[in-house]
Symmetry: C2
Subunit: 208 residues, 2 copies
């Protein structure tokens, strides 16, 4: 069976777990000792030179890092239900939406997280307060954009649930739980989308 190196509560492995659940694929989840520094050991760096989770390990020992690369690989193994797009244009459109989410929301929530109190208390990074505040501001601006877009379509990339929605639900719930950055209640289209996505069995099976 394929192994997934994971850490409970982290948004990136959660994306893979929800994705695999949608596909009906079983993964053998290996919890790493993230706080104990396991991902920075030479053994783990051999699996992923970035020293991050998730990593998918195939039965022959081949290791594949990066949640979105892992999901694309799982899509090839189990094409249905399709989550990355069915033709070249739709595939590219979903990737564009997904990239903008990652580069313009995930990155800013990440900046707020890395420079916030939990990471500072762990002594991992010297926080830069101005960067934390900028991250918060840009994340809120992106939430407003998402809300506007979701007034005219039910899911991030259009009429159907895709990998972009999986990333978004993991991100929004991480931001709410760990970065004090839940979307404002006034963003009603975003809240309605969140209800639609959080009620899926795959998302319920792998809570934040």
């Amino acid at each position: 069976m394929m192994k997934l190196y994971s850490f409970k509560g982290a948004p990136n492995p959660r994306r893979v777990l929800i994705f695999a659940e949608e596909k009906g694929l079983r993964l053998d989840v290996v919890e790493v000792n993230l706080r104990g520094g396991e991902t920075k050991t030479s053994a783990f760096l051999g699996k992923n030179p970035s020293g991050k989770i998730p990593v998918l390990e195939l039965p022959d020992g081949t290791c594949l890092p990066e949640s979105v690369a892992i999901c694309r690989y799982l899509e090839a193994l189990a094409p249905e239900p399709n989550l990355f797009g069915t033709d070249p244009l739709e595939t590219a459109q979903i990737e564009a939406v997904h990239r903008q989410l990652e580069l313009e929301l995930f990155a800013h929530i990440g900046a707020a997280w890395v420079n916030g109190p939990i990471v500072a208390a762990a002594g991992l990074v010297k926080p830069i307060e101005a960067q934390r505040l900028r991250g918060e501001g840009l994340a809120k601006k992106y939430y407003a954009r998402l809300n506007e877009e979701l007034t005219s379509r039910p899911f991030l990339a259009g009429e159907r649930f895709t990998v972009a929605d999986i990333s978004a639900v993991c991100l929004v719930e991480f931001a709410a739980a760990r970065v004090n950055l839940a979307p404002d209640a006034s963003l009603t289209a975003l809240a309605a989308w969140h209800e639609r996505v959080r009620s899926r069995p795959s998302v319920q099976a792998h809570p934040a």
Copy 2:
């Protein structure tokens, strides 16, 4: 003919131009007035809600933003020479390498750029000096990692030239020209890779 909204000297449209050149695809390049704010007009936001270049416009008016999504679309139109991978595992491995480059080098060079003197002089962003310095430090660390990896393989993702090399050459040359972040000359494997890639006709046809 497909149009590419672009801006001379920007690394992201350059990735698409080099990629299209490798494929022998012709694009009608439309230079936008980036400094004059054209990408923030409602007309342009209709093409890309992120207000960024590049954007590919198809003959029917459909607009596709995000350089990597555009490249993947072009790969589907013109499969040879293959630049994204030929089977599910290789495709995922190339994507993993490419994502790490973007998230762990591009992002930090971007932080150094956004908080640096050129952007500050344009009055676009209030610079955060600590963030600029952190970006520089993390970029240099990633250069050292790339150098180490390139001692045992000729290209970023292995034995052959891929989309990851296109992104990397655009990024490294932008960092050198605009962010004062050229890789240190002691990184000889990285320098040798740079020579290998910069000498390609596609890269020469679209200089930084």
